[in-house]
Amino acid sequence: MIELRQLCRDFLVGDQMVHALDHIDLDIAAGEYLSVMGPSGSGKSTLLNILGLLDKPSAGEYLLAGTATGSLREEQRAKLRRQHIGFVFQSYHLIPRLTARENIELPLVLAGEAPKTRRQKVDQLLERLDLSERAEHIPNQLSGGQRQRVAIGRAIITEPDLLLADEPTGNLDSRSGLEVITLLEELNAGGITLLVVTHDEDIGTRARRRLHMVDGKINRDWLSESKNDGGGS
């Protein structure tokens, strides 16, 4: 599903070069459930942005579903995002003036799907997310947990095979957080590849495969059941 080879991402901060990602090698198989943990500034979010094609690596290679992404034009990157990737953000990133239904529908609208199919898909999903009652509410009228469920709905409406979640429970109380992570795990059980970036030990340790990052390197990569130390880069 995902292959990273010697991947680097450097930022120029002032006149100093910061290596946010430092020669990362990583393979993720389809259907895996990973968590990425580590201190602030360790490169977790940068990794997620690169995986999500929101950002470009400074060096190295990134293959997504067999496609080398390095030489792709912006247009093609956008298309790959649309086809393969769903995002869930800490601050939801819902469009405030659109209702829950419209927010979920948005990717289909942008993809140019017909209104009728859109409606069917969104209705099904609203049901599944237990949001049918709240469908016509705008984000301001929803609780944090509900907002994040709407955001997840928006992320999976296009049936992507990779779901990237950046601190999905970061703004939620523990009960809503648990609801959200459970929902994400259900989706993973349904076959979607799930990658969760988090600070929260309780959330992070739920994943079968865990990455721990420090200073732009993966210093631990292990599977929880076997407890074996995969040893990173």
Partner: protein, 404 residues
Amino acid sequence: MRISDLITFNFRVIERQRARSLMLLIAIAIGVFAINLLTGIGEGGKQFVLGEFNLLGKNVLIIVPGKKETTGGMPPMTGETTRELTLRDAEALLRLPEISAVAPLIPGEMEISHGSLSREAFTMGTNRTFFAMRQLELAQGKVLPEIPMDQSAAVCVIGSKLRRELFGSRAVLGQWLRIGDTRFRVIGVLKDRGQSMGLDMNDAVLIPVASAQTVFNTEGLFRIFVELRSLQNLDTSRTRITELIKQRHEGEEDVTLITQDSLLSAFANVLDAMTLSVAGIAAISMLVAGVLTMNVSLIAVNQRTREIGLLKALGLPARTVRLIFLFEALMMALAGALAGLLLSQLLLFLAQRAYPTVPFGTPTWAMFGSVVIALLTALVFSAIPASQAAAMTPVDALQDKKAG
């Protein structure tokens, strides 16, 4: 992205930033409104004036005392001549073979009274031919009698308004009225018709030219209208007329000949310039609207940075992002343009009701032009902000801290 979805999406945007959108809409509306209203009035005025001159047949020349270049330029409206045009001149002109008819004119304001009622009215001394030349039609009675030009007759034809005000609903034919110190019998009433060359014919009295000489106590004619048999030898005819007058005026060429064409083109030039200059003023207001469009779009791009980031994360290509912003500006421009167009047409309609004789109406080129200009303005001035939005990298846009 479907166009219909693009429109709905943008509607939601416009709806949210209501005040800002409204401001932009009004700015564009004012621009379009100004173009349409001003050209509508200008064009109406032009058509009105030209229409008036068209009432003169193509083959009618006007002889004005006083000399000025006759090719182009405005004719001398106030004659500054030492030698007057006389009835003798008019009679001599009539004897020229190429001239079929001659109508002299002596106009002036006179006190008109009937019984105890009296008022000032425009009095014109002329002859029978004048009616045909100016296409004056009668509601009742007859036109001035066919008498030699130097012969007086105590008869008059009056305008419809004058008839109403002096006689009310009573029978008028055969009644007497007083013009200055002289009594005239009413033999005809003109059909209701608005202005004619700036004169309200409804408020006019026509009397034989010789009688007018007495009433006004003058010999000189204000104008002589001559009708040519054919237009074929216009230049020769002009020369013959000028020569004739020159001969009669002791070798001095002291009259000006005006043709309908020279009048029309002189007026048309002035009026076109007027229409264009008001269009220019209106164009400046479009420019202001354009700058406003740019600012509004820049603010929108700035405030919606995170949204743009999200749209890109959801897989929207840069060109669609650009399209969204261009379309937003276009939609507002179109709405503003239509509002401005509607309002200008409404006002012109009201103006038409108030002044029925002036054919107010925006020319089609101005209507289409103004809408096209409005849309182009919106496109041009939102191009920079839209490109700015399109060029944002998704990761930076998503992390924008300014707004949610």
